[in-house]
Amino acid sequence: MLSIMLFVTAIVFLINTMLFCAYVSITGALGLIPTLVCLYIVRRLNPQDQTTEVEGWEIGEGVDIENPDKPKKVKAILEDRALDLGFLGLGSPGSGKSIMAIGLLKYFTEHRKKGWVYWEGKGDLDIYQKTVACGATPNKFFSSELPSSDSINVFSGDTDSVVERLTQILISDESDYYGNAQRSALRKVVPLIKGLNITASLRDLYVVYTREDAAMYVMNLAKEKEVSPDVIEAARMFFDIDEKDRMEQLKGLLNKMDAFVLGKIADRINAYNPTLDLKSSAGKSDSIYFHLPYSKLAKDLAIMLTEEIGEIAKERQLYDKNRQSWPQVYDDWGAFFYENFGPISARCRSAKMPISFLFQSKGQTDRVDGNRIFTTEITDNIGGMFILRINGTDTAKWAAEQFGEYETAELSRTDNTSYEGNNMSVNETPRVKSDTLKNLNAGEAIISCLISGEDGTIRNQRMKVRFPYPDFSEEKDIDWPVIKNHNNDEQEGLHLWRDFMNADRLNALKQQIIEEDQQIEKNHQKLMDVDYL
């Protein structure tokens, strides 16, 4: 109203100015000053541009449901600063989770020009096709099932991190006697192998545990390479245990290791010169596609790789001053959750490697520990929550609760012969009903995400949005990538598996050593036989 009054005043001043100039004197033009002052104040009171400039993924029109009784149309933008905190996406099959994830990868690739890691737990070809077709082509591709994908070395990294990682995967029960013995075995032997400063693989560790002669060879090599005496002594203590007892202790560990050292995939995950090194990829901000269709082995591999991601995050946190955002998107990951995922997600977020996960049911996070701490931890460690269509009642109910409540007030008036008065009732009403989530279309979601306000403020906005459907028109022409790996036997490394697990080769090596030894003996004898006088 003040603006209207000032505007009218400005018009009257202008008319006065014109009349004064026309009939009295040109000095009346000074009347333009109060006119302009009034118009300036009007402009300040009603700024035309009330938007805040933000960078983020523009997903189109949305509806602000802060107060569902008064929905407001808004331009939905998932800001970079919110995406860099990671998000949780929940939706039933066919609700559009993967399309949303691919759209996000497209945004990371085309707009942010930075790498990402896509952990794909479903394994369908069409997801890879769509990812590539929309422009989010990965630099690296690792599959737990496809033979022609990049190779990795699951034994890479520093000693402590390898021990930690292997403890997570290979030791199933940490509390019992065997669990402790196995952890001790890892702590005594892994430093010995790492101390050699020769590239090694999990297969080498397996051979050291299972072959007495290989263990002796490594001990001698360690002495030759001047590995720290305490490391050698600790290893000796382990190898001094009676072989029968030692093998009994290691039985469970070796059984678990079988999955990683035997079979077709073993060559690609025990590469001395891997084509995919997560640590260097993090530095270069590569785009990596992990194709891990669910199986027991895929889960173990996923845990091992996730632990490695956690270690990279730890290093970035401590030493990387110029860390670039390297988002991790875990799609269809419900079956892959494990206990340590929560702490890793917190660490990754602070190291600018935000973890976002998409899954189908709250039951999948509850299953991890049974007592729901994991679900709470996971939901507390993310910056946004995207709920797509949910079919299950329990999950829908839980998801709806995440959007909180809003206050409604009802005023009723009684006016009759015996009583006259007002009655007001205030209710807390759920902002989102579980039925609303069941009725969402594919790609539609109710989201809760941080947004920037005026003057640098940040708040949580609850919106109903529809994620964009990228252009996948060229997807049919795309096939799995074919990646040529190095021949492991020809690469530089410890090669215990090659040399000690092949009986013929081992015999040949032994024969060669004996011949060399005999030759030395002969030469020595010749020298002794020479009559120097």
């Binding site: 109203m1 005043t9 006065n16 009349l19 009939y23 205030v426």
Partner: protein
Amino acid sequence: MITWWHYFPMIILAALLPFIAGALPTKEFKGVDIGGGPVRQEAINIMANALPEKVGNELVQEFMSASKMDEYKLYLPFALNAALIMAWLAFIIGSVVITTNNWFSTNRYYSTRKAAKE
């Protein structure tokens, strides 16, 4: 609660008052002229005093020889400024009334709501 939607007709009425006052027919009542004529005359006198002497005299001369319609036309610039002043007065009074009234209403509402919640 009173809002400007309730109050803005008062501002319009206040602003229209000078225009209406100058347009009223002139009648003689107990030997005294009342109505639009004296209002227009007084307005022209005020304007003539405010303007430079030469322009003031010209304005008075013009008014003396004008018809009723032309008198009103000469009166319009004065009416416009008077309307603006009236509108601002109404606005200030309205602001005070609305603010005071709404302060009471808001506090009553919060008190009632607090009581309902408890």
